[in-house]
Structures are given as C-alpha cells and as structure tokens.
C-alpha cells in the first residue's frame, strides 16, 4: 500500500512541478517522498521509479499516439539511430524513472542515517 501511495505521490508531485519548473524538479519530488514515506530504501527507489516511469512513459505514449508517432520516429532516429517510436518512449520513461528512483533512495538512505 505504501509502495503504491509513494509511487502516486511522486508522480503527482513530478507532474505538478513539471507544469512550472524544469525537468530536474523530479529530483525534488523523488526526495520528498523518499524522505517522508517510511519504507526500505530499495522500495523507496522502486516506488518512485515506478511512479515517474509510468508518468513519463504513459504521457509520452499518449502524446506520440495522437501524433501518429511522426516525431517519436524522427527523434528515435536522431538519438538512437533506430526508427522505433517505442524505444524512444521507453528511454524517456527510464530517464524519468531512474532520476526519481535514485533521488528517493538517496533521500531515504539519508533519513536512515540521521534518524538514529
């Protein structure tokens, strides 16, 4: 349950920050939930990862489908020399997920260090 709540909160915060601030504010989203929601640091990582992986992945997928993948194919070719739109969507999701996940685990392990 904590896992799901943590994932949802990280995603929601990331989305909210993203409306006004640069992409790296997902670091803050990940750290906030990691610090405040008590879980094993590994689960903190996984929940934040899952939340933002799904947020970015699903949003990119939705955008790309309504664009008939015109841009995703070009960007995929540009960045990874492959014309599959799904690879670049996956890559987008991984970038968001990893950034949030590592931020959460960093904050959680910091919490574990200082709580005593």
């Amino acid at each position: 349950m904590k896992f799901i709540v943590s994932a949802i909160i990280t995603a929601a915060l990331s989305f909210g920050f993203g409306l006004y601030f640069p992409w790296w504010t997902i670091v803050i989203a990940g750290m906030l939930t990691g610090f405040l929601i008590p879980q094993h640091w590994g689960l903190s990582f996984l929940s934040a990862f899952t939340g933002v992986f799904l947020l970015w992945g699903l949003m990119a997928l939705f955008i790309s489908v309504s664009n008939d993948h015109i841009l995703a194919k070009r960007i995929s070719m540009l960045v990874i020399k492959n014309s599959s739109p799904y690879l670049i969507i996956l890559m987008t999701a991984l970038i968001g997920g990893l950034t949030a996940g590592l931020s959460a685990s960093t904050a959680r392990s910091l919490y574990n260090l200082i709580k005593k």
């Binding site: 989305f15 993203g18 409306l19 640069p22 992409w23 790296w24 670091v27 640091w41 990582f45 947020l55 970015w56 949003m59 990119a60 955008i63 790309s64 309504s66 664009n67 008939d68 015109i70 841009l71 995703a72 070009r74 960007i75 070719m77 540009l78 960045v79 670049i88 890559m91 987008t92 970038i95 968001g96 990893l98 950034t99 590592l102 931020s103 685990s105 960093t106 392990s109 910091l110 574990n112 260090l113």
Partner: protein
C-alpha cells in the same frame, strides 16, 4: 553499510542528473530534451490539432480573420493593410521561427554563436563580405520610405508578439536540440534576409579563377575555354532585336593592357562558401492567342537548394488595397511570387556578374591607409566581434575602401602575402529598398503598375515575368548592372586608381525586355539575356540548355492549358544529350570495348533522351560525358593551390561539334598526341568502372543515382529531419531541374481567367516543425510532378470543405 548505501545512491543520483543535464558528456542533455513536459514531446503536434484561435494585440488597428485551409495555407483578411503584415509576421513566426532566425544569423555571420568554433571561418567570410553593412544600407533606404517602414514595423511587431508568447516548452525543436533561445526579431533581420538571397543569387563570380586562367593559358586560349557567348545561345530577348545605341563608348584605361590584361602574378588562395551556380529558375508567360482559354498563363519555378523547412511559405493576403496569393519568404512581409486579382508575377535569376575585386595596396600592416589616385587614403575600419558558443569572442577588423570592404588579406587568407589584399565591389552594398517592389507588385493592376514596381529593384538582378487578366505579357531583366568597358571585371582589377572603377549603372530603360511579342510567349531560364547585339558588356554565369527546350516547346504549342504548362515544368528532355550523344557514339572505338563497356554504350545509344527516374541511360551518359570533360581539361587546368574554373559543358560540346581536333584534346602530360577517338573511348572505359560499381549497389537508375534529398537546414547533422531518396527525374540543364539537393523550390502555374485558375506545389510543408504532419506533406506530390489547386478566396465567405480553421485577430 548505511553510509555506503547513501553514498552510492547519492553518487549515482548526482552523476545521472549531471549526465542528463549537460551537453559535455552526451551530445544532448537527454533530461530536458526528452522531458515529457518540457522537451521535444511538447513539439509532437496531434494529427488532429485544432488551430482555431482568438487573439488580441494592442498593435492591431482593426480586425483580421485568418482562414487556414486543409494544407495549412493561411488566407489573411485584414481591415487595415499593415495589420495584414503584422499577422503575416505572427504566422511566419508561429510556423517557421527557428528557420527565420537561423537564416538571418547565417546572413549576419553569427552561426558560431549557435554551433561553436567550427563556423568561425564561415562567419568571418560573411562579415568580410560586408553582409551586415549591406543590410544596414538596405534598412536605411527602407526607413526613408513611409510605406515600407510601416509595413516592416508591423511585420516585426507581429513576429515579436509571437516570440513573447513562447514558453520554454513551446520552443521549436531546433532550439532544444542546439540549446539556445530565440532573440527578438528586428527590421535589420528582414534586411539581412534580402542580403542572404542576394548572396545566393548574385554572389557568384569567377574573378580570381579567370585571372589565373588568363595568366596560365594566355588570352587566346582563355577565350576558347571561357567564351562569353555560347553559339547555341537562345537569349531571353529574341535574337535580332534591335537595341538603342549605347550612351557612350566605353574604353578601358590606357594602362589596362599592362596592368590588367597582362598581370604577372597569379592568385594563390581558394575562396570558400561560393554560392551554387545552379541557383536559377525557369519562367515563362504565354499570351491569350496561344491558350485554350484565350487568357495568358504564367509559369515559374525557382531553383534553389532544397531544404526543410522550405524557403517558401504559402499565403494569401487580402487588404482593402489588394488581394494577393502566392509564396512568401519567412522573414519578409508580402507575397514574393504569385498573383492578385489582376496580374501575376514571377522571377528567374539574371545571373549577371555584379561583383568585382580590386587589388589594394596598403601602406602597412595596420591597414589604415591605402594607395589610391596618387596619395594615401584612409580606410574606414569596422570591428567585427564574432561571439562563439563555449569560447572567447573573436575580433576581426575589416578595412573599407572606396570600392568596399577588403574581403581577402593575410589576416583571413594566410596563403596571401602581407602586401596583397583584395577589396570587394558589389551592388549588394548599395543603398536600396527592394522590398518596395513587392509591396507595389502585390497591388499592381496593370503593366504600368508593374513597371513602376520593378523600378525599385536593384539586386539580385532578376528576369521579371508578368501576365495580366487584361491580356498583356511582359518580361524585364531588372536590376542595377554595372556600366563596364569590354572585359572589365572579368579579372581582378588594380585598386590604386579611379580609372578602373565602374562608370555607374546601365540605365534601367536599357535593360533587356519584351512586351507582348509576336511569338506570343516570353521566357527565361538563366541564359544570357541578349545576343551580341546588346550594346553593353554583360558578363555573368549563365545556363544554356533549359532555355533551348523551353523555347522549342513553347514555339510549337497552341491551345495551351494550365495542365500543359505543368507538364512542361516537369519535362525531363535532355537537349544537351541530343547534341552530345552523337559525338560520343561517333568517336568510340568499339573494338577496344569490354562486354560491360559495350553494355553501357548500348544503353546510351538506345536512350530516348529523357532523364526519367527509372532510366539507366542518363546515369551512363552523364558519367561518360563528365569523364570526357575531365580527360580533355584536367591536364591543362590542374594547378596546386591556384583556383581555376572548370569550363562549362557547352564549351566542350560546341568545340567538338566544330572541330574534332580541338587543341585541348591532347594530353600535355604524355609524349604522344591523343585524338578524339582515344579520348572518348578512354572516357567510356573510366566511366564504366564507376558505372559497374554503381550497378553493384543497384544505383544505376537515374533516381537512385541522383538520390534527390531535401535536407534539413542543419544538413547532415539532422538527417532524421530530412527526406532522402525521392523518386524523380530531371537534372542539370533540364526543365525539371531537380538535382541531388537542388531544384524547383516552388512550381507555380497561373491562368489569368476569372476566376483565376492557379496551381502550385513546393517540396516541404507549411509547418517548420518536424513533429507536425504539415512538415513535409507536399513532398510526395512535388516528387511525382503533381500540383495543388490554389484556393484563391475572393471574399471571407467560407467554404467548409476547404477551410478547416479560423484564427481571429483583433485589437485589445
């Protein structure tokens, strides 16, 4: 352990955010670039995008309604003329902002700001050529004309009102890719755009190459290899036209023989960034007595580098003063090639040489004084500061003389010795307002209005085709063309003496022109405008062959329809090969050929002379002729570090037609004397090797070989945004002038009936966004030679099927 977990996690987190956030590890900051809410995903335009909008701006005086059709062409209906230009600026920016800024940065020599050190030489070249100086002069002329300045002010305000509305996430993809932000648009940028076009169309010259060739070959051979008038010339203005006597007899200065024609030294550096000499166009107008409808038809297809986003943006502008439709340049107000209720207009490049070099003698390396008319004269010095991405600003001081900027000296071309410097004299530096021509053409209703409009145009010299609903057709070669004595400016001139300066310009009324000729048609295709009876010296870089096909076809055609004109624009007949093939076939020694060589020979022999996409013969013929050209001339013209011009293809063809023992046939590097049989046969053998390897890669078919490609403006750095491998025919010297990355950038046919019957297509799309379905949606249509019927709205009454969206603009 806790510490370890924390530290590892922190370290990985920091490293990841750093790598994703910088350009110094990966070429792209993937975090922001792929961010869903900030990066490129925001540029993925839904295929069912709703373009309806209601916008309010203080700057507007009245209401403007914009109807966007199913091809995203805006039809702008404005209550006030200047409001139309405001909205045109807004729309150009909305659909083409990155391109507008990039092209004008390129004009101004500011590319290093965007891409870094690799562009320094390009930027210096632009600055030293005086591009910004030229644009400033143009702007001052625009500011002196109230009609022009109010139009351009409104346009600039429109562009900026769009830029101000942009959020980071809305920026065009290229800004995200290269990592910079747009700056405000200015009137100077519009002026810079006109100079970029001038550089493209009137920036080609061979002064240094010719100077070297004259020294190397001697005058007699120079005239053979670089003749000024081809025998096969079909001039713009029909042969036999009687011209007025020249205003004055122009004689070279007394010192010309020793100081000009008999130079003792050669020029030992190579110029970079020369414009493509294929920049050109076709245009023609046929009068009503040759058409089925009884009304004139005007056709135009300008040949430029094929780029995405396209150089053109289609638009209709309806104001109380006029209703014009056609293509515009993102960066300028008005319609550039198109038509209105009464007339139509188009352009081809005149190709005249309006650019000369003068050898300057500086007093010392400070470049503060130069020797001119028997005394030391001060130079004006212009400090150019070239900002460079991730590096220190580079400064370059350019000395300006009475001729113009000193483009080449030792500080720029290290091959030059300290005492050699060359100043550039170029019509593009003159103070003039060419924009005024388009503002007037858009509202012109008859031939007199057209004449008044084109009088404002000086450079790049153009053949300006005209047709009216009232039945007139006309063509003027318009521009400011230097008044020169024979051979003046072909070679580098002494810059120590005013006697070598231009003697003004040929009066506009003496420019070659035609009006309602008895033949019933007028045409131009970058050929020399007049034959030798024209009383003024007219050097330039001209094409020969498209004009021959066009004249031959138009002379034979009657009851012409708009569809006939479309077919003619897409004609692939190779008239050069018609004359060149018999020579190749006649002089081949068949007994010396291998099976492969015989196969390629027979492909050429049985060819229908059409450069069609699926034909293999055009590839074989082209390789063979190019090989012959190299065999004949390379021994005579290859010199280290000394620029020389390749003789044009008509030179070899006409020489061989006249004389099979043409003196350049012999290879000067061998003791034996080669004849034409040997040359043609060796040329085929060498070409066959290349053809065999092409055949292995399945690239013998003309379209495969040519691989027509519409590059993104970032060229090979953004192949994901380009379109490669288009299936089409054509080529150099063919009406369908489609080469590898160059060709008809807009094809237009306008029949002057009521209502106007017009067609057009360009290889691109209205949107500059690679994430839009409107980015390249015209390309397939263009590649197959098809057109769109242009929807010329007479009134704001909306046709639901064609009109997809409406944008309303009003003042606050």
């Amino acid at each position: 352990m806790k510490y370890f977990i924390f530290l590892v996690s922190l370290l990985m987190n920091t490293a990841l955010v750093y790598v994703l956030g910088t350009r110094s590890v990966l070429p792209l900051p993937l975090g922001s670039f792929l961010s869903v809410q900030e990066g490129v995903w925001q540029n993925a335009e839904p295929v069912d995008q709703d373009f309806n909008a209601s916008l309010r701006f203080d700057a507007l005086k009245g209401k403007v309604d914009v109807f966007l059709d199913d091809r995203l062409v805006p039809h702008v209906f404005a209550e006030q003329e200047n409001d139309a230009y405001f909205v045109q600026g807004y729309l150009h920016a909305k659909f083409r902002l990155w391109q507008m800024e990039f092209q004008t940065h390129a004009a101004a020599g500011r590319v290093s700001e965007i891409v870094g050190e690799k562009a320094i030489n390009y930027d210096r070249n632009q600055r030293r050529m005086g591009m910004v100086y030229a644009a400033e002069n143009a702007l001052s002329a625009m500011e002196n004309d109230s009609q022009t300045i109010s139009a351009i002010d409104a346009y600039t305000a429109g562009v900026n009102s769009y830029i101000s509305s942009l959020k980071t996430s809305d920026l065009p993809i290229e800004y995200k890719l290269l990592g910079y932000q747009p700056e405000k648009w200015t009137n100077l940028k519009s002026a810079l755009f006109t100079k970029q076009m001038t550089q493209t169309l009137a920036g080609y010259d061979r002064d240094f190459e010719f100077t070297n060739a004259l020294k190397l070959l001697g005058e007699e051979n120079f005239r053979i290899l670089y003749p000024s008038i081809p025998d096969s010339l079909y001039p713009v203005i029909a042969k036999g036209t009687v011209y007025n006597k020249p205003l004055a007899v122009l004689n070279p200065p007394a010192s010309a023989d020793s100081l000009y024609f008999k130079r003792t030294d050669t020029i030992q550096f190579v110029e970079d960034f020369k414009p493509n000499p294929s920049n050109g166009s076709n245009s023609w107008a046929v009068s009503g007595n040759k058409t089925q409808s009884g009304k004139p038809i005007l056709s135009n297809d300008p040949h430029l580098g094929l780029t995405l986003p396209s150089i053109w943006f289609e638009i209709q502008l309806k104001t109380p003063a006029f209703n014009a439709y056609g293509v515009s340049f993102p960066g300028l107000p008005g319609v550039v090639i198109g038509f209105n209720d009464s007339i139509s207009f188009g352009f081809t490049n005149a190709g005249r040489d309006v650019k000369d070099y003068y050898e300057i003698q500086f007093r010392d390396t400070d470049k503060k004084e130069y020797w001119f008319d028997s005394s030391w004269k001060p130079t004006t010095r212009r400090l150019e500061q070239i900002q460079i991405k991730n590096a220190k600003t580079v400064e370059d001081t350019v000395a300006y003389t009475v001729f113009g900027p000193v483009m080449y000296d030792k500080s720029f071309k290290t091959d030059l010795t300290a005492e050699k410097a060359y100043a550039l004299k170029w019509v593009a530096h003159d103070t003039s307002n060419i924009l005024k021509m388009w503002l007037l053409l858009n509202r012109a209703t008859n031939y007199t209005d057209y004449l008044e409009a084109i009088g404002h145009f000086n450079v790049p010299g153009q053949n300006m085709i005209f047709a009216s609903k009232s039945g007139d057709i006309a063509l003027w070669q318009q521009g400011s063309f230097p008044l020169r004595w024979n051979d003046q400016g072909l070679f580098v001139m002494p810059g120590t003496d005013s006697s070598y300066m231009w003697m003004g310009y040929i009066p506009h009324e003496e420019n070659p022109h035609g009006f309602n000729p008895v033949e019933g048609y007028l045409s131009s295709a970058n050929q020399r405008a007049a034959d030798s009876s024209y009383p003024y010296f007219m050097p330039g870089s001209y094409e020969v062959y498209r004009a021959i096909t066009i004249n031959r076809k138009l002379a034979a055609m009657n009851s012409i329809t708009a569809q006939d004109m479309q077919l003619l624009q897409n004609n692939n007949y190779n008239v050069f090969a018609e004359d060149a093939r018999p020579i190749l076939l006649k002089y081949t020694i068949n007994e010396q050929l291998s099976a492969d060589e015989k196969k390629y020979l027979s492909l050429v022999a049985s060819w229908n002379l059409m450069n069609d996409a699926k034909e293999k013969a055009p590839t074989c013929f082209t390789a063979w002729w190019d090989s012959l050209h190299a065999e004949v001339f390379n021994d005579d013209l290859v010199q280290d570090n000394m620029p020389l011009a390749k003789p044009e293809k008509f030179v070899l063809l006409e020489a061989l037609e006249k004389d099979s023992s043409f003196k350049f046939i012999d290879n000067i590097n061998t003791p034996t004397k080669e004849d034409l049989y040997q040359m043609v046969t060796v040329a085929l053998k060498k070409a066959s090797k290349k053809l065999a390897s092409l055949e292995k890669e399945n690239k013998l078919e003309w379209a495969q070989y040519k691989n027509t490609t519409v590059y993104h403006l970032l060229k090979t750095n953004a192949m994901a945004f380009a379109r490669e491998g288009l299936m089409n025919g054509g080529g150099n010297g063919i009406i369908n002038a489609t080469q590898h990355d160059h060709g008809p950038s807009w094809r237009m046919v306008v029949e002057m009936t009521s209502p106007t019957n017009a067609y057009g297509v360009y290889p691109g799309g209205q949107s500059g966004n690679p994430g839009s379905k409107f980015y390249d949606n015209f390309i397939a249509q263009w590649a197959k030679g098809a057109y769109y019927k242009l929807w010329f709205m007479e009134s704001a009454a909306v046709d639901g099927a064609t009109c997809k969206w409406k944008m309303s603009f009003a003042s606050k």
